[in-house]
């Protein structure tokens, strides 16, 4: 593997655990361990899986005006976000396209922002350029990020610190775990209950090893993370959403709170608001949907979708044979008039037409702990 790849603080641990490493967003990352993607996927659905997601960007926004400033870049209510509450958000561009998706948590004294690895340099620059005069943008390269996900994640983590069990979905708190000062949120990217743990980089290995000693926990790689998030109906930036898709086209309007919509107290005021508001009012020409394959053949990113007459209707942005569903599932953009539930379309796979049906997402029910 190319040596110019960045390494996470857990790099040597991955090697000890027998991981297969692949380049991802400039990092050498574990795609799977010897158990394999399907076993790791099931481990997360049935018990608990530990993921290294230290490649993701962590930033602090500091200053009294930080929340209001951030609202100038996202169509999301940040100002009213309560202490230790977390929220999903999107950076938009002047055309209403999505520059990245992110998580925002209001902490005492700052906003913690988690962004995608491939976007973190651009996002940091974007924040500094547009709101750097209103708040201080502090990248956190000295922190690692671990995700402990699965229905038994709470059992394992609460043995290290009982207080984490009190967190509910999309809330966070500061906790001392294995001697490290961590910030823990009850959230993740698998559809399961679980936690994301921001930990000082030099204490990340000790924490990971402590978690792996818990009987419920086994390591899982990016391969399982991808199949888990797809079954959970969660978008992967650069695939299911990008700078050419708007929040309305991407079926992410739930992320735009009322207060930021037309008629709301802080409506608009983010890049591309006019485009997004027009689509909120009268719909978008295409829509992101879930598809379930009616045959066994996996339908993957890039597959063209057609109707029975062979007319192009859209394309697939993510797809695989989903381990829990045990059927091919996909996310796709379809012409809006074909995007209704149960509508049947055909995916072109190696010259053959594979029937698929528009299905509700998530494909697997979420297991979030809402208290």
């Amino acid at each position: 593997m190319s040596t110019d790849l960045s390494k996470t603080p857990l790099h040597d641990l991955h090697a000890e655990l027998g991981a297969k490493m692949v380049p991802f967003a400039g990092y050498a990352m574990p795609v799977n361990y010897p158990a394999g993607i399907i076993a790791e996927h099931k481990q997360c659905r049935d018990s608990a899986a530990l993921f290294d997601v230290s490649h993701m960007g962590q930033l602090r926004l500091v200053g009294d005006d930080a929340a209001r400033a951030l609202e100038a870049l996202v169509p999301v209510d940040v100002v009213d976000l309560g202490l230790h509450k977390q929220r999903y958000a999107l950076f938009t561009n002047p055309s209403g396209g999505i520059l990245d998706d992110l998580m925002i948590t209001r902490r005492e004294g700052d906003l913690l922002v988690i962004v995608n690895a491939a976007c973190k340099a651009a996002d940091t620059q974007h924040l500094i350029t547009h709101i750097g005069a209103r708040c201080t943008v502090v990248p956190l390269p000295d922190r690692a990020l671990l995700a402990l996900q699965g229905p038994k994640a709470v059992n394992a983590l609460s043995r290290l610190e009982a207080g984490v069990a009190r967190l509910t979905f999309m809330t966070g708190g500061a906790f001392r775990l294995a001697g490290a000062d961590c910030y823990v949120t009850r959230s993740g990217y698998t559809g399961e209950d679980g936690f994301e743990i921001s930990v000082p980089a030099d204490q990340a290995v000790a924490l990971a090893m402590a978690l792996l000693r818990e009987p419920e926990v086994k390591p899982a790689g990016l391969g399982a993370r991808d199949t888990l998030r797809l079954e959970a109906g969660l978008c992967l930036y650069g695939h299911d959403i990008d700078s050419k898709t708007t929040p309305v086209e991407a079926a992410l309007t739930w992320a735009i709170q009322k207060v930021r919509r037309p008629g709301g107290a802080r409506a608009g005021g983010y890049p591309g608001a006019a485009v997004v508001e027009a689509q909120l009012a009268s719909g978008a020409p295409v829509k992101r949907v879930g598809l379930v394959g009616l045959e066994r053949v996996p339908v993957r990113e890039g597959a063209v979708l057609v109707d029975a007459q062979g007319r192009r209707l859209g394309h697939v942005t993510s797809g695989t044979l989903a381990p829990t569903v045990n059927q091919p599932v996909a996310m796709a953009y379809l012409a809006a008039n074909h995007a209704q539930l149960h509508h049947e379309v055909f995916a072109e796979v190696r010259g053959k037409r594979v029937p698929m049906r528009v299905a509700a997402m998530p494909f697997v029910p979420h297991g979030y702990f809402r208290g």
Binding site: I37, V297, P298, R300, L321
Partner: protein, 124 residues
């Protein structure tokens, strides 16, 4: 030598040249990971050497399978179609893909013998 290998990580066993057995190698299944779908060739059809004769799909990726030596497909492994993970568990045995009546024996002789294939794997 009755089993030979291609640089694309197929194997072919020619004990019976009218029904030579073809599959993917241990290395191929390991590189692909969990195999979830196979597209097998048409029985009765003749494929040229190097022609795409099937597809192997894992959770992560799809890979083409190429015909090691020209011939007519005489049988496909229906058990593999029903349980594609056979190609992970026993790639050189129960996880075979199809049988071919090889019509160009000289093409078989041009494939890699086990030491040559091992040498190729060491270079990867």
């Amino acid at each position: 030598m009755t089993t030979m290998f291609t640089p694309d990580h197929e194997w072919i066993n020619i004990e019976d040249h009218e029904a030579a057995v073809v599959g993917i190698t241990l290395h191929a299944q390991d590189a692909l990971g969990d195999i979830v779908f196979v597209d097998l060739p048409e029985v009765g059809r003749t494929y040229k050497r190097g022609e795409v004769v099937g597809v192997v799909e894992s959770v992560k990726a799809a890979a083409d399978m190429y015909m090691p030596a020209e011939g007519e497909v005489v049988e496909v492994n229906e058990a593999l179609r029903a349980d594609p993970a056979l190609a992970n568990r026993d790639p050189m045995g129960e996880g075979w893909f199809f049988k071919v009546h090889v019509t160009h024996m000289e093409q078989f002789d041009e494939l890699m013998d086990p030491p040559a294939y091992d040498a190729l794997l060491k270079k990867l």
